[in-house]
């Protein structure tokens, strides 16, 4: 492709309102343009990357035995009513009526449609297991679309759905998708990590997320230094404390703490060890007679809301009590709460259960209790894992300790069990002629999000650094003054033609631009290999080659360039 015939709309300035680097670089490199909040057009070079990602995803899905279909974006509401998600799904589900006032949605996902399709289509258990996928446009009416195509409203997704009669084939297909997703991201040259994940609102039992690692990632991943164990912080299991609770050594003491509204202030003003303090958080309870529940974690720990949300005693979705509710129930403000004397269900983190001589709020404003001991000052409360894990503590497999990384979720696989098939009555006759409810799995890849994630992981201050497999073009040719130098034009054109003949994708900057502009654009759009040719090089009989990633430069003799670039690809 010649730049003169292309729509290469690069920009020097960092665009306003683009918070993350991938969004900035995609705008600056002319990959995308915003049509409205969360709606983007893909310009030519952006679309080339998107299509490469799509092609790799498709190949690996086919290799894994999944079969491609295509379902509509517009879905009839009645299917969503069947599963109850018509009511349950928030305003992210865009609902509308057609000209005949019938209800429809713009599909944010396709569990309902595929389950309807399969329950009608399956005639025999012999057709199972079945794994159907599509690469298709989705719409989620995000309240605050942001980060460009990272969290857009309309986006491209690969979603697959598998159907089974037994857990064994469910496990096999799940494993094959795990492998396919690993292959997809490996082939794209991305550093990634599969992590155990919470199944969230989609439901189900087993689930893994696939994260592209990047410092800018929204998700925190806890992984083991000594094994493959890795989990989203939401899901990462805290280790059970190995120490046992010590006998009390301190008296219980009520202390005036007028200037200590936070754990940090308390610790500083009274010289306490933070690990000897606890925080008490009040949330809405699930039981009618327990409108509020107290959750207690160590002062240096953070409550894990996903874990807390799963507690039987706590109402889901988890909601914190307001200050007014807290005052009405306890008579003190949030800065002075503690477990002693609290007349509501208390759930403490496992690490709190082994504390002795610890400090907590006294449930009176501006007062704390020091030297608290379980079973002496208050009954030992029920304990559970309700906190985030922290760096350095042991992983559940005891093969290493937790380390932390940030990631961008680009894939998610789930075992859904019968969550959808049961409500939609998706059954098939088994060998004995008995109707069995199907087991389901679902497997998503954010195709457009991968493009942004790849940039978050691969860039420098000059622009994007594309991994070979998803670069819009493999090679850039920068001819210097080709409009004046006949020699340069001739050699550049020959190289351009020769590389194309070899099936290598080339972008040649044939504009009448200053070299500085051409170099800057080429760095910005991030092609892996750049070949410069000017009059001076011709005298020497060499091309100037520059590797975008390493920055390494070398002179390559005219005759060797094709072999050199073919070998690099």
């Amino acid at each position: 492709m010649r730049v003169s015939k292309y729509l290469l709309s690069t920009q020097k300035e960092t665009p306003a309102n683009a918070e993350v680097i991938s969004h900035q670089l995609m705008l600056r490199a002319g990959m995308i343009r915003r049509n409205a909040s969360g709606l983007y057009s893909w310009l030519p070079s952006g679309l080339r990357v998107l299509r490469k990602v799509e092609a790799i995803v498709r190949e690996e899905m086919n290799n894994a035995g999944a079969i491609e279909i295509l379902m509509p974006l517009v879905q009839p509401a009645d299917l969503w009513v069947e599963t109850g998600r018509w009511e349950k799904f928030g305003p992210e589900l865009l609902r509308f009526q057609d000209r005949h006032n019938r209800d429809f949605v713009l599909g944010p996902t396709h569990e309902e449609v595929i389950t309807d399709l399969v329950r009608k289509e399956l005639s025999s258990y012999k057709q199972l297991p079945l794994n159907l996928y599509q690469v298709q446009t989705k719409f989620r009416d995000e309240v605050r679309p942001r980060f460009g195509v990272m969290r857009a409203r309309e986006f491209l997704m690969k979603d697959a759905y598998s159907f089974h009669l037994d857990q064994q084939t469910m496990d096999e297909t799940y494993q094959s998708m795990y492998t396919a997703y690993s292959n997809i991201l490996s082939r794209m040259g991305l550093e990634f990590r599969p992590v155990l994940a919470d199944t969230g609102s989609i439901g189900g039992s087993v689930s893994h997320e696939f994260h592209v690692l990047a410092n800018s990632g929204e998700d925190l991943i806890a992984y083991s230094t000594g094994s493959d164990y890795a989990a989203n912080i939401e899901k990462a299991e805290s280790p059970m404390p190995t120490q046992t609770r010590q006998a009390p050594t301190q008296e219980l003491k009520l202390v005036d703490t007028p200037n200590a509204k936070t754990i940090a202030e308390l610790v500083e003003q009274f010289g306490l060890a933070i690990t000897q303090t606890v925080k008490t958080l009040i949330v809405k309870g699930a039981a009618e007679d327990a409108p509020l529940v107290a959750l207690v974690v160590r002062g240096d720990h953070e409550l894990n809301e996903i874990k807390a949300d799963k507690l039987e005693a706590v109402a889901s979705p988890l909601e914190f009590a307001t200050e007014a509710e807290i005052r009405a129930a306890i008579g003190a403000g949030p800065g002075s709460l503690g477990p002693v004397g609290l007349s509501m269900p208390i759930i403490i983190d496992h690490s709190v259960a082994v504390l002795s001589d610890f400090a907590a709020g006294a449930n009176q404003d501006d007062k704390h209790l020091f030297g608290i001991n379980w079973e002496r000052d208050l009954p030992l409360a029920t304990s559970a894992d309700i906190r985030n894990v922290v760096e350095g503590e042991p992983t559940p497999d005891h093969l290493g300790t937790y380390a932390m990384a940030r990631g961008i979720e680009v894939g998610h696989i789930f075992q859904l069990g019968t969550n959808y098939s049961k409500s939609m009555n998706a059954t098939v006759l088994d060998e004995n002629g008995k109707a069995q409810v199907l087991l389901m799995g679902c497997y998503g890849v954010g195709v457009s999000r991968i493009v942004a994630a790849a940039i978050e992981q691969n860039h420098d201050d000059r622009g994007i650094i594309w991994p070979e497999a998803i670069a819009p073009f493999q090679v850039g040719i920068l001819p210097m003054n080709m409009h004046k130098s006949h020699r340069v034009a001739e050699i550049a054109e020959k190289l351009y033609a020769d590389l194309q003949a070899k099936g290598i994708e080339v972008l040649m900057d044939d504009r009448k631009e200053r070299p500085g502009v051409m170099f800057a654009d080429m760095e910005l759009i991030g092609l892996p290999h750049v070949v410069v040719i000017g009059d001076r090089n011709i005298d020497e009989g060499v091309f100037e080659y520059k590797n975008r990633r390493t920055g390494e430069k070398q002179n390559i003799p005219f005759d060797d360039i094709i072999d050199f670039l073919t070998a690099s690809n």
Copy 2:
């Protein structure tokens, strides 16, 4: 692909509510399934065809120098307000609000979005001409979706938009799209015809439709027996009469015609030549003082509403007067109308202007006038081309006569002029630094519709007959009793592997089904080449080959089959 691992959902029965053969066969062959009115899922074998059509379209667009982009389906309403189509477009334009109560549409087309994109993106006239295309999902809320994917609500379309400063490059790009569209349909092995077309509501000047020829086509095409001239009947020009008007030979006579409500009855009952009669149709006028206008065509001709709609005197969109309006204005019913004594503007077809001694209604119920002559009985009215052409009359180029064919419109190219760029102020600075409004062309291919059109043209009573280039698989293998005969299984598996190694797409029916079912399914899904292998063939050392299109059968020795099938592909 093995049928046992595939979702091949064939049906024996012709489905209810599928009116056209392509819709019936796509359902029966398991290519598509209906999700709701006008919404379809593409099952695996259907999607393979769709993707092949898409790939051919993409290749030819790239060959023609068009550049691929991707715009969103969901479009902000404000762009549609700018061009006035927010108001003008009917309920086919699906309008909805997002969670923040902002107006959006599901794009039935993308003139607004692309014009907005280009006006922002173009920095120099040097970037012109520019031809951008996408293969993308569209939505049109059809009042009565029908014929399966032929007229669905959600469908796949290739739409391209070109931008120009001058008519010369506009013409060149238009011609290149004309060629590309011809290449696309030729490569798919489809019989087609490009025809002059009306530009309709999209506006513009020059336009061609590309029709796949099929007896079931909704469109009537008038083409020349002696040249390339061809036009949609809506647009086909009537020849100017070569004869001149003869002098009157009959007296004007008022005749009682109580039983002649139609031209056919009049002609039969009074022994008139139908070519000596005229029909008078009353439509709404455009001028304030002419609420109604009379249109007169010969008794054997049909009014062309598209042509009539363009008359200055007629209100657009064309609307026929009601019987009540006709009675109020004329005092007679629609069966007794004629041009004599009519106090409203009259426009007659050119062929009516050369009549003498003709018959028409008398504007009194149950009475006609015979022997009418222009300039004696009434002034000669303004004449225009307001009728459909008929088979056998000369084409406007005088190189042949009109013949008729039916077609399915699968492509449409337009020169839009400044229709959109003017209202959206899409300009670029020309060489002299002066802002010029861009000229635009637009070019659409109904990707999903082509699949249905191909079937309408290529089928028999046993099923689909796929053209090679868009067949879901090239070769079908039918092993007889492979589950019992080890020899058959071995040879079938080897053939399957060998063909795949050659890059030939194969579907092998490895089900435990009766041969009759397997043969019927294979005919129904319409793969071009079928290879049968059974124990008897093995004894003879041959495969039984059958060509789906010709029905021709031959025995091919084991060693020759790969060469034979490779040569057939």
